[in-house]
Each structure stands twice: as C-alpha cells, then as structure tokens.
Chain length 394, copies 2
C-alpha cells in the first residue's frame, strides 16, 4: 500500500471547511468552539472509515485506535483565534492518511486545546500527567469561561482516558512555524529536540518625575534602564549563545506611560529559548546580573518575577534515525536536522513514550495567522516521509 496524495490533500481541505475564515486559507477553530466540536465529530467519522475505533477522552482528545499495540501519530485540530489551515491540522490528517495507507498498526490522535485557550498544550498536558485535571478545570479563558465548563460541552462524547501503554511511540508532523526550511529551499526538518524556555517578568523601579523640570542627569528613568539593559544583554550574550538561541522582550508596561512624565517604573517580559539546559541556566545568570548592574548604575531597584520554565525535550534517537532515512529517500539533500523552537504536544507525550517530530516548510515563516501556508508538494513530501518511517519501524 502507499500514500494517496489526492486523498490526503482533499481531507486537509475538507477539514479546513470547519471554521474557514479570513483571507487565504484562514481558519478560526479554537478549542471547544462549535466548529472545533463539529470538526472532531467529522474526524471521528474519518477514523472509523479508516478502520480505527474513534474514542474521545474526558478532555476532548480524540483518538483513532488501532487494535493491539500501535504507533501513535497525530497533533491537534484546534486553531489559534486567527489561525491557518495547517498548523496542527496537518499532523492529524497526515496521521490519518498514513493509517489508511499502512498495513502496520497505526493509531491517530487529535489533542485538544494545544493552542492554549485555557493553558499551554492543555489536552496533551492533562493526558501526560503534566497538568492535573482538577487544576485544569479551574483554568479560565480570556472571557472567564472555566475549562470545566468548556469540556462539559463534549461530555456526551467522552469515554475514559486512553492508557498510554498501548502505544509504542509518538510521531508528530507539523509545519515549522519558522523561516529556516523555506529560506534554504528544503522540504523536511527532522527534529532533534524541542527547545527549553525560560520566561520571567523584570521590573525596574526608578523615580517618576516631571518631564519638563527634571534635568537629564537627575533622572531615574525606568525606560532608559530597560533600553540600557537590552543593549548590555546583547553584548553579554554574545559569547554564550548559538545561532539557534533566541531571546525576546515582547511585553513592556511603562508606568505611568504618559508623554510628559519621566517613567518611574517598567515591567517587561524576558524570554529565552535554547535546546541546552546548561545554556538556559547560564543565560539566566547573565539576565539577572545584567539587570542588577544596570539598576545599580542608574540608582534604581530591580525585581524579578517567578521564573517559568520548560526543560528541553530530546527526540528519541531511533525514531529520529528512521525519519532521517525516510527523508533522505523522499527528499534527498533537501532535508535537515533541526531543533523545534516552538512547543508541541510531543513535549508532553515525551513523559509517556519515545517521541519524534518532523517539519515541513512554512512559507515566509508565517504561522498563527490567516496567511499561513505550505506548498502542496512539501505537504505530500512530509506525509511520504512519515509513511516511510512508520513502515520501517515494523
């Protein structure tokens, strides 16, 4: 048996009809919305048609189960509030096509709320034990709706949680969500690890003052501290980071944030990501020392919020090697090994079983936007690589 590219692409376009929105191939299908639930019911029908047993768990994760031990493939079919047609949906439909095309036992999953309406990768986090269910039930979305109320919308579908021991491993196909493959004209990325994240809020407290009457040399201006911190941090990171390391100041809150007042306080987010836990720790030391030095130099106070962190997750070496071999066959010299800078359900599933991931290019590196897209030839190459790898396992 083999992959049927037309069938695969048609299924992907069919799924997009649930929540099709915006420009291009945009999709609005957030977790537990009417469109999300309708899409999951349609997916369950597709799973049954492929000979799988469709099964919803108590938090909306949808499994298409093969009989006996199997390899689990999939991702998530919920979208960002403004998302594209691929993202997690690609991994789910690729999994379904591989299940259709394979004689070996392949199960399929669409996790719920990967996009974090309520938490972060909520459905797979609960399934893997990373997030206790009673704690999840208290999480609220931006409108104040609790998770417990949202999942109650699917209560009529829900069975028990699926025991992970029936799966021998998990492979997730996904769009890269970055520009690397597209920029270099490659078709496939075999993921080596999902990078770890450190994230904290930093606050500089200076002196709020009149922007007309306070001479420059007497100011303790919180924005100036932030700007100096940012510049100094780049210098100090230089000998520590790799070309793959990233760091971001994405949130800035000045107080009182008025054009005629020297700002007395700023709170900002400092986030950094890398695949090496030692480097993440070294960067934390530099962040703290730099902020402390800037505060001292400028006569200000600095305080640090709690450090939020996710450890890097290594992909299973055996699964990586079958993916690499399959990539070399499907797309010779047009694939690479690379880390994933984004979080995925695989991060959680790694608590339960060996996991691996493969990427296809994101045109222009764009994702989480209506404009997200990938050449159909690359989508088909991805599902071929997945098919080849899975069949090599048995």
């Amino acid at each position: 048996m083999s992959i049927n590219p037309e069938r695969f692409l048609k299924s992907l376009h069919d799924l997009r009809q649930f929540g099709a929105s915006g420009v291009g191939k945009g999709v609005v299908r957030p977790a537990f919305s009417d469109d999300d639930i309708a899409a999951r019911n349609w997916l369950a029908d597709q799973m049954r048609a492929a000979g799988l047993t469709a099964h919803f768990d108590p938090v909306g994760n949808l499994f298409g189960l093969a009989d006996g031990p199997s390899i689990l493939l999939g991702s998530h079919s919920d979208s960002q509030p403004e998302g594209g047609w691929l993202d997690g949906a690609l991994g789910v439909m690729a999994a379904l096509e591989v299940a259709r095309a394979s004689d070996v036992p392949v199960s399929v999953v669409s996790f719920q709320d990967e996009e974090g309406r309520f938490g972060v990768t909520t459905g797979s986090a609960i399934w893997s034990g990373n997030l206790p269910l009673d704690q999840a039930d208290g999480l609220k979305d931006h409108a104040g709706v609790p998770f417990a109320e949202a999942r109650a919308r699917m209560a009529d579908l829900a069975g028990d949680f699926v025991h992970p021991s029936r799966f021998t491993g998990y492979v997730e196909m996904h769009i890269e969500q970055g520009p690397t493959l597209d920029t270099d004209g490659e078709q496939i990325g075999v993921v080596t690890e999902i990078v770890g994240i450190r994230d904290m809020k930093i606050t500089f407290d200076g002196q709020q003052n009149h922007a007309g009457t306070t001479p420059m040399h007497l100011r303790r201006d919180a924005f100036q501290a932030l700007s100096a911190f940012n510049a100094e941090l780049e210098e100090r990171f230089r000998n520590v980071v790799t070309p793959r390391t990233v760091w971001t100041i994405g949130h800035v809150s000045l107080h009182p944030n008025a054009s005629s007042i020297v700002p007395g306080r700023v709170t900002f987010s400092m986030q950094w990501r890398d695949g090496d836990p030692d480097r993440l720790n070294r960067m934390e030391e530099i962040v703290r020392a730099t902020a402390g030095d800037i505060a001292s130099a400028k006569g200000m106070e600095v305080s640090f919020g709690p450090l939020l962190g996710l450890e890097p997750v290594a992909m299973d070496t055996k699964l990586q090697s079958v993916l690499a071999a399959s990539a070399e066959q499907v797309a010779p010299n047009k694939w690479r090994k690379m880390p994933s800078g984004a979080l995925h359900d695989a991060t959680n599933v790694a608590q339960l079983m060996p996991v691996a991931m493969l990427f296809v290019p994101s045109i222009g590196g764009i994702s989480h936007a209506f404009e997200e897209d990938t050449d159909e030839a690359d989508l088909v190459a991805g599902v071929q690589v997945l098919f080849g790898a899975v069949n090599a396992l048995f």
Copy 2:
C-alpha cells in the same frame, strides 16, 4: 506696609482645607469639582476682604480687581487629581498677600483648569485667545464630561470676560516643580523663559513573529528598533543640547505585547523641551533622521504622528530685573536666573501683556503628588520677593 508672614501662611493652610486629602499636605481639588468651586467662593470672599472686586468670568477664572490700571498677580487654585497644597495655590495666596500689604494697585487672579482636566492651561488659554471658547466647550475630561457642562456648574457666578487692557503686566509665583533650587540650597528662581515643547508619536512597523521559531538574524523586532533609536538619539543629541535641554520617551505601546511574540509594531512618544526655538528645530531634524536611519538599518517602516509644539516664551526683561533686584535683597546669593521647564498660565498671558515668574524650591523636586512641599521660610521669602518687585514698579 509690609508682608504679614503669619497671615500669608494661615491663608495658604486655610485654602488647603478645600480638598485636603491623602498623605502629608495632599490636595484633591480638580477644576470644577465641588471642592474647587467652594475654594473659589472662599477666595472671592478673601479678595473682597482685601478691598478688591471679586469677579468670575464665563469659564471660572476668578479675578480680584483693583480699581483702575493695576499689576496682575496670581496663578491657579485647581489641583491635579492627586496634588499638593502649593503648586498654583501658592501663587494665588502670595498674590492676595501682596495685594493686602500694598498701597499700589494690585489685582489677583486664580485661573481655572490650569492642570488640564479638559485641555492644557484651559482657563488662561481661553482668556488669552489661544483657545477659542466654542472649541473649548467640546473638550471632554477622561470621564467624557464636556467642558461646556463643567463650566455650567459655575454659570450662576459668571460675569463677562475681564478686558486685559486694565493690567500693566502679570507676575506668577510658583513652586519650581524640579530639583534645581532644592539641590543647590537656593531660595528663589527668577524665570528667564518658559521652555518650548515638541511632542510627537513615532511608530516602527516590523514583522510580528513567533518568539521561538524566528532566528535572531531574521527578526524585524519593533522593540529592538525602539531601543536602538533611543541609544542612537542620545549620541546624536550630545553636541546639540545644553544641560537644560530635556527629552523623554514616556509612553510606549508594543503590539501585540505578549511575551512569546516578537513585537511587530511599537508606537511611542518622543518629547523634547528647550528655551531656544532653533535648538528645538534642530532636535526635530535629528529625531526624524535617527528614526529613519534605524528603520532602514532594520528593514522596518517608520511613521511620525503630528508634531505638537509650544514655542518658548521669554519673560519680560523689565519685570525680570525688578524681580532679580528684589531677590538679591531678600535672599542675597541664594537665588538664580533659570528657565521654567514646565508650562504655566504665564505662557498664555504673555499673549496679552508683559509677564514674569519667580520660583521657590520644591523639596526633592517633587510635585503633582501628595508629597509636594516647600519650607515655610522659602514660601515667605518668595512672597517677600514678589512684594518688593511689585512695589519697585510704581
């Protein structure tokens, strides 16, 4: 006749009872509030007791008129939403004390809404013709109340506008609202000019992106553009500014302002102040060129909002010289000439007649806060200087 320090200070403390609030000597007496109107009625009584004719104009400015041509002294008795007991109230009570103590013709004014609940120095701006009344009537406060509705609260008190030709000049005493006099242990500042202001919003448009998957070298990060602009501007200003020049980035709005997203857009305020219009213009050129260069270097778009500006206002040389002579007599070697970095009602009144200002110290440079204060010895020195100068004019 001479100044009565006890009477002056008692009047100042009496006025504070209207809206006394917060810690220390805090005051909450915004324009047209119950406390502001009660304070103005009390002030009118004080003016009558001093032999002046109390007169409200249609926008709440309160005059205590001497007969015939006179010198006008005063400031404003409204406060910031959280203000101190001095600010404009000091200039009004100092004027009243000088009127009480003088044989020469002295009129007193308390302008309305100097603190800008509706506009900027609203009452004196209307009186001077800088702000047309019908335009002012449409201005709304933060709660959406129009100026027309607010001034209607005082309609029962209102007479006509006072014709400015009855005044030979205007002198305003005020707290410095900055740290210069306090830091240097001086008692009096004779103001040379009120500095001009330029203020505009600048926007950098880059590329919003995923903070995990977008390598540093491919980012077009709006916050990084802002930080680089800020640093480069300081370099380029260095040979243009004086120790009195100030500039401020007090308002920053990042989009989408989330810790996991490379910010694609930032809009921020750029404000600068100086007493020299040529320098203000030269700084504008530098601001625009620097922003343009940073945008080019980082592959971003830059756009500029409208340039808001107030020209510098020179103080009348004759009034300055009588103030200086009086200061040297009252506080020998403990006074200086200095610009005002803050706006005052005198800015508007300068459209109508010769104006001058004198400052007393602000402890710690603090104003527009409950903590605002000045040593009583300095307050008395200020009113003595004002008295001496006024009497030297006749």
